[in-house]
């Protein structure tokens, strides 16, 4: 156990603090040294800033949506154009959140920073490709902004035909943006697969990888296999709008349901692009902050891969009401249930890891606990939607909205925040206010539940999604949800203030503030620009027996028993040759 003090007669290993020349944040100066950097850590930080801005933007849109729904007749938009405005609002909220925030959040921002450091490597396999994918992300974002300032977008983030081929809003700009973002995502995934395959340090076998790397690997597989299909789908949609190729457009004998199949073949696996890295973060957070070896390592690792592969077989459950044959719907429904098995395995393993652990209720751990609670609700309500009979009732209601927000926000966003708080000392070398961090996690947890629990009730009572107005009987639930959204916004703002405050007033972070055993905590905080002089030899990433709390310096250190080196002397007996 790690909570003791340093035993006498042992060697303390700690890299100390980086010099200004070593620190990757300060080793070169000027805006160009950031814009043309090939350093994965700087690219990760740029992604972090980028996705945070996208999140802020889409979050404000979400608050506007909720504010509009304060009154049955709509509070924000009035008059003839109110419905159109509302349609554009929720479309942009969804599209920006999905394509610009959730998909790149953990893999691109945290993954870029962490994957090479966790591997003890100097960089990802293809640093230039890495920078290129960041700029592709920027280009995609510009297209979305263009769509916003053009004629808006009102198709919903799914771009369903035939509406998307007939509406006069900027579908082409937005789909072009999503197409480009797809390539950003493909290149990131490709980079990580190659990096993890070829650049693991000596001693790190597949089953000695931190679980975050397993999750990233599984995510990358999906990114590489599913995203190209979205690419061609969006390209065909653009061709449909410009040339009327008649593949999706019923006016020319096209088949709109084919579009739905194509779209969900990507977008269902994309749901796992969003949640799998979150699983990876939580696996690491739970083990580190419980100071206990992760329970069932192999099961967690295999279940990540199982989710990635099963995720490709269940896309039809988005289309139960779209007119598929009954046989197909039954098969898709059955396959959908199989995905819940590996997800449940993970939850049980996390709980078993915490059991009899010595849990520190640090900010990252608070977020991890919130994640388990919220993700479990999100996952279990998914079963209602995967069941054919109940889905007929719940399809396209607020129940669906609440379900996927529990997974995407309660799951991915909360895990992302937990990850950011966990690795913040490593990324920027500063400790934040623990009290402030815990407070923000509490506000977020309460605000989130207040927002989305009422929506389950709304949905099961028949409130359809994407409506700008509603019957007065739903008013109090909608108002509850709106107040919750505001509280959630306050919580997120608190988290932002706590983190930004630490940059200016925070204490310098030690190399290993949490007592973790993975490689990234063995270099300084923040890491030097070259990460490691040479790839370190690694052991078990979840063996906490050698890590002790150094109360004098308020840090965790790796402790080894003092060994006497054998004195150099001639062997007593001369060899016989």
């Amino acid at each position: 156990m790690s909570s003791g003090s340093i035993p006498p007669g042992s060697v303390v290993k700690d890299p100390g603090f980086p010099t200004k020349q070593e620190n990757y944040l300060t080793n070169s100066k000027g805006i160009l040294s950031w814009m043309f950097t090939l350093d994965h850590k700087r690219i990760g930080v740029m992604y972090l800033v980028g996705v945070s801005l996208a999140f802020l933007f889409a979050g404000i849109l979400a608050l506007l949506i909720r504010y509009h729904l304060m009154e049955p007749d709509g509070k924000l938009f009035k008059g003839a154009n109110a419905n159109n405005m509302y349609n554009q609002l929720f479309t942009l909220h969804g599209a920006v959140m999905v394509f610009l925030f959730i998909i790149p959040s953990i893999p691109a921002a945290l993954g870029n920073f962490l994957v090479p450091v966790m591997l003890g490597a100097k960089d990802v396999a293809f640093p230039r490709l890495n920078l290129a994918s960041f700029y592709l992300w920027c280009a995609g974002a510009i297209f979305f902004v263009a769509a916003l300032f053009g004629t808006g977008l009102d198709t919903g983030w799914t771009f369903y035909t035939p509406y998307s081929t007939t509406t006069d809003t900027s579908v082409i700009a937005a789909t072009m943006g999503a197409f480009i973002l797809g390539f950003s995502s493909i290149f990131t995934g490709l980079n990580f697969i190659v990096t993890i395959n070829t650049m693991r340090p000596p001693g790190m076998t597949w089953f000695r990888m931190p679980l975050f790397l397993w999750a990233t690997y599984a995510t990358s597989i999906i990114q590489v296999l599913a995203t190209p299909v979205l690419g061609i789908t969006l390209l065909l949609l653009i061709a449909e709008r410009t040339l009327h190729i008649g593949i999706f457009d019923p006016e020319f004998n096209g088949d709109p349901v084919t579009y739905q199949h194509f779209f969900w073949f990507y977008s269902h696996p994309a749901v796992y692009i969003m949640i799998l890295p979150a699983f990876g973060i939580i696996s690491d957070l739970i083990a580190v902050h419980s100071h206990k070896r992760i329970f069932g390592y192999r099961f967690i690792a295999y279940s990540s891969i199982a989710i990635a592969l099963l995720g490709f077989l269940v896309w039809g459950h988005h289309m139960f009401t779209a007119g598929m044959s009954p046989m197909t719907t039954i098969i898709f429904s059955a396959l959908t249930f199989t995905v819940s098995v590996p997800s449940a395995i993970k939850v049980f393993n996390w709980l078993a890891t915490m059991y009899k652990g010595s849990i520190s209720l640090t900010t990252p751990m608070c977020f991890a606990l919130a994640f388990i609670f919220l993700f479990t609700i999100g996952g279990l309500t998914g079963l209602h939607l995967g069941t054919l009979a109940t889905d007929m009732h719940l399809h396209d209601t607020y129940f669906v909205v609440a379900h996927f927000h529990y997974v995407m926000v309660g799951g991915t966003l909360v895990a992302f925040l937990g990850g950011v708080f966990h690795w913040w000392p490593k990324m920027f070398g500063k400790m934040y206010s623990e009290a402030g961090g815990r407070l923000s996690s509490l506000i977020i947890f309460i605000g989130f539940n207040l927002t989305f629990l009422p929506q389950f009730v709304l949905g099961s009572r028949g409130m359809p999604r994407r409506y700008a107005t509603y019957d007065p009987e739903f008013a109090y639930l909608h108002q509850m949800s709106t107040y919750g959204a505001m509280l959630l916004g306050i919580g997120l703002l608190t988290a932002l203030v706590v983190l930004l405050h630490s940059l200016f007033r925070g204490k310098d972070a030690p190399a290993n503030p949490w007592g973790a055993a993975t490689l990234e905590w063995q270099c300084t905080s923040p890491p030097p620009f070259y990460n490691f002089e040479r790839a370190p030899v690694v052991g078990d990433p979840y063996d906490f027996s050698k890590i002790e709390w150094d109360s004098e310096n308020e840090r965790y250190v790796t402790v080894e028993p003092e060994r006497e080196t054998v004195p150099e002397e001639k062997p007593a007996i001369q060899p016989a040759h």
Binding site: K122, M199, P228, G246, I247, P250, N253, D255, F262
Partner: protein
């Protein structure tokens, strides 16, 4: 970058002792430990990229399968318009380019720099011939109105409309001019590039810059090959102009034959082509209409309105046609095959698949030119030939996709 130039002597010396030298050669990126690690990473990377490429095309292959399954007669009939000879020549050209590409990889491994440049130039020339032939195929079809469903206007009675006739079909004069002279528009960018490269060649000779001359010379030949391909296409396309394949002929006769009886399904009003109404739909609509009389139910009312609008627009011919007799080609196919919604759909898929493939050829050309310049600079040797190898793999995939496209589009009759 120029530091990557390999010294042939040290190259040979290091050949025997692979993997044991701990120096960091110039071609080895700083974050890799050994050249082997760098090569393996690149190789895995390019294979993964090829997987994404296959999946990228998969969407179109699925669309092809769905719609061919729905109307096999349309696909067989419309395929008559594709010139098998030109397709076969392009297949041969691409296969040959794969040979030269594989040979180029070998040359880069053995360090035969001159031969490598030659092989890359040969590969590039083949790709240009391919594009030249494709330009002929495309422009010929555009002039005839064999276009994607939205703009399809082929009329068997008048397969080669003049610009004036095109304007009466509702095209602007600019579009009509483009459709009539599309070959010139397709050739123009290549002509500009050719002129640019020739100017570069002359300039480099005048300046006496040997490196630039060595780059510009093969590139000039490469650019000229495009027009070689165009010439080849013109000869073969005009050779079959009189007969114009079976398609033109029979289609023409068919058109004339029926035109007298005033029953030819003209392109413009093909919405009138008989559509088998689905009884289920009708009954469902009537129920909805009855429900929609409730004036509070605005959602249902607009739903019914949308259904009625859709029914009045759609021909409903998504359902399988009655005739399954498509053995005899276009002359035997039912009259409503040669319409926007039928043949037009085939050409939509044809243009999507071959167009995306052509974009990949253009991308391949870009990276091959980059390789050619590096090969003139003698960047590659037995320890560093990764880029040639990776581009080679990509090129083989582009070739392979064409090997699938050719029979699926050209040879289905």
């Amino acid at each position: 970058m120029s530091t990557a130039q390999a010294d042939p002597v040290s190259d040979d010396a290091s050949h025997g002792e692979h993997g044991h030298d701990h120096d960091h050669p110039a071609f080895l990126a700083h974050h890799f430990d050994t050249p082997e690690q760098q090569f393996d990473s690149g190789k895995l990377g390019i294979w993964l990229f090829l997987v994404t490429e296959v999946l990228f095309f998969s969407g179109m292959f699925v669309a092809y399968a769905i719609f061919r399954n729905l109307r096999p007669d349309v696909f067989v009939g419309s395929s008559e318009f594709l010139n098998t000879k030109l397709g076969a020549i392009n297949t041969g050209v691409l296969l040959f380019s794969s040979l030269t590409m594989a040979w180029a990889v070998r040359c880069s491994q053995t360090g035969e720099h001159k031969k490598l440049t030659g092989m890359l130039a040969a590969t590039l020339s083949c790709s240009m011939v391919f594009l030249g032939v494709k330009a002929i195929e495309y422009s010929h079809k555009w002039g005839m109105g064999l276009l994607p469903a939205g703009t399809f206007f082929y009329d068997p009675a008048n397969p080669h409309p003049t610009t004036d006739q095109l304007e009466t079909l509702g095209f602007t004069s600019g579009t009509a001019f483009f459709l009539h002279n599309s070959l010139y528009f397709l050739c123009a960018p290549f002509l500009i590039v050719l002129l640019g490269v020739v100017a570069w060649l002359i300039l480099s000779i005048v300046k006496g810059n040997k490196f630039q001359t060595a780059c510009a010379m093969p590139l000039t030949i490469v650019c000229l090959s495009f027009f070689g391909g165009v010439g080849l296409g013109v000869i073969l396309e005009s050779g079959s102009e009189e007969g114009h394949g079976a398609a033109h002929d029979v289609a023409g006769h068919h058109g004339e034959g029926v035109a007298h009886s005033d029953a030819v399904p003209s392109v413009i009003d093909d919405g009138k082509v008989a559509a088998p109404a689905l009884n289920d739909d009708a009954s469902e609509t009537s129920v909805l209409e009855r429900l929609a009389t409730d004036s509070t139910n605005t959602g249902l009312m607009s739903d019914v309105a949308a259904r009625q609008a859709q029914a009045s627009v759609a021909s409903g011919a998504v359902v399988r046609g009655d005739d399954t007799n498509f053995e005899g080609g276009i002359s035997e196919a039912s009259a409503n095959v040669l319409t926007q919604r039928q043949a037009g759909k085939f050409f939509s898929i044809y243009y999507c698949m071959t167009g995306v493939h052509a974009i990949h050829i253009l991308g391949g050309i870009a990276v091959l030119v980059w390789l050619l310049i590096r090969s003139v600079r003698q960047d590659f040797n037995s320890r560093y030939f990764g880029p040639v190898d990776y581009v080679g793999l990509y090129w083989h995939l582009v070739d392979l996709i064409w090997i699938y496209l050719f029979p699926l589009l050209y040879l289905i009759r």
